[in-house]
Symmetry: D2
Subunit: 178 residues, 4 copies
């Protein structure tokens, strides 16, 4: 796999909401998901030969993601694979149920034709010291290097679907102990 | 290769200077390499199970890097491989001669025991809209995923030593056309 | 009044909480007042001959500020005036009840011996596009230039106590129409 | 003087270049004055009832400002006063010769009809830890509060023309000792 040719590497980014996208609403005096921020985050990444098309699936807190919403995410990924117009799929997702969505994707699309990499953030892109830009940048790099399959890329780590665990103490995603 | 176990992934980062490390000196009224910034950059990355030890090799503009300096970088990498205390080596380097240093490393250390990933930036970490943090974050991700060898990781791309070319028009690193 | 001598201009800053100090708590997944941020904000202002001593009075949302809390703020200001160790007093405060606290101060301390300037922010210092640093910088400048009395300094404007009104539509503080 | 009415406070900002406006040119690998940045800086200030019209006079390092250029700045200020379309004039200027330009303005326009406030920065707006936004925010506040005359507003201090001295050791502007 040539990871560096000048022909653009095509990523479809499925945005679902989650902490990564929360921004401050001064009228509400709180963080909301009213304004999408993924586009802004991507505009600050510098990768001239990576083409990222953002597809908005939903804008919800991942704690609010039930089976119906999860099915929508799976459907969006399936459509993307069917259209065969992406070299990889990146999904931005809240961290609380990211592991479950990854499993649902792995079960539904067994043997996907390209890497599907889920990521998110412990701190919103629009707050100080956010890990959002790092995680998306690393998810892009991982999407370009791993073999087809479903993974989480988070805090400098890649974890295969089925083994993703949220570490609530250290506020990160880790691989399940064996 | 288990890329996600909780046992820390150990990186030795060899810092050599380059644009990525330039910071503004208000007395000189110019960008200088007087103050190292890699430590600050790394402190803003969120990757609890990646241990990065910074080793300062030099602090020079890569246009000032001659064969003697290049030999020092190779020696530092060789020492690190000999000590076998790193899972990967990341080297921060100016972009003008990064390709040549990568080649020197590949020739001198043929078949290194771990990935050696060079990176840098087109805009200093300490100036607006810098690509430094993205490149280092992606270099870390790449260092964790590629097979042993010498590479550049830059702007969402991984390029093997021997094929790295600086694109002065688009201000990025690309892979040589074949 | 010599506003520029090299002898430091001494400000006592009474911190009370409010939106300006809210920071993101990744465990709670929300903005809280758990960590003071005024010290960090001040550390990023560059004013070598202004000495600002921060005194923590409380850390509450100004909607939670009742008469008891308001009396504490007045008492803290009175102590400061009695000690006569400040050239001006700056108070950081939530915007919802800032006007009321300004009135309470003006009534209780009629004819204070130095300027008392209240300020705050519509967006926390620790979120993107915050107006916090601007407001504090302008409050410091105003504190140095106005005659003794009680004022709000906010969004490039100075408003005397008794005439401060929060404009909930435009999210700013304005002077009452006459 | 009503400093807080809702009728906008009208400022004409005369931009002349200087450190405050330097931005990184990745092709040159250096800080240049090729791109104006004052407009961007102002866009990040939150002051709904302050109208700032930027007029570009020149884009030079203040060390390059000779008597001819200085005369242009004076002429631009005179035109503005003649048109009487501003409540105050703010001038962004390099710090090395800011004092001289302030004197030239005071001499040429003796008894100007409104405050003329010069400011600048020790660190460009587009580099880390810049003092640019603070200085402009404080210059706006000062412009709104001082009596007509020519001043520097810098690092939380206001200094009348004729007494402005650059402190090269502490990297700030101070008032001349008497």
């Amino acid at each position: 796999m040539n990871v560096s040719s000048r022909s653009p590497f095509r990523i479809v980014l499925l945005a679902t909401g989650g902490t990564i996208e929360k921004s401050y609403d001064a009228t509400a005096g709180a963080l909301t998901l009213d304004r999408p921020v993924i586009e802004t985050l991507l505009a600050h990444l510098d990768q001239p030969d990576v083409r990222i098309e953002v597809r908005r699936v939903m804008s919800i807190d991942s704690l609010a993601m039930g089976e119906a919403e999860r099915a929508e995410v799976v459907a969006a990924a399936r459509d993307c694979l069917a259209a065969d117009d992406a070299d990889a799929i990146v999904i931005t997702h809240g961290t609380d149920t990211l592991a479950r969505t990854a499993e649902a994707l792995a079960e539904a699309l067994d043997g996907p034709g390209c890497p599907i990499v889920l990521t998110g953030a412990m701190r919103p892109y629009r707050v100080a010291d956010s890990d959002a830009a790092q995680n998306v940048a690393q998810a892009v790099m991982a999407a370009r290097l791993v073999v087809p399959g479903v993974y989480a890329a988070f805090h400098g780590r890649v974890i295969p679907a089925g083994r993703i665990v949220k570490d609530y103490e250290r506020l990160t995603l880790v691989e399940a102990e064996t």
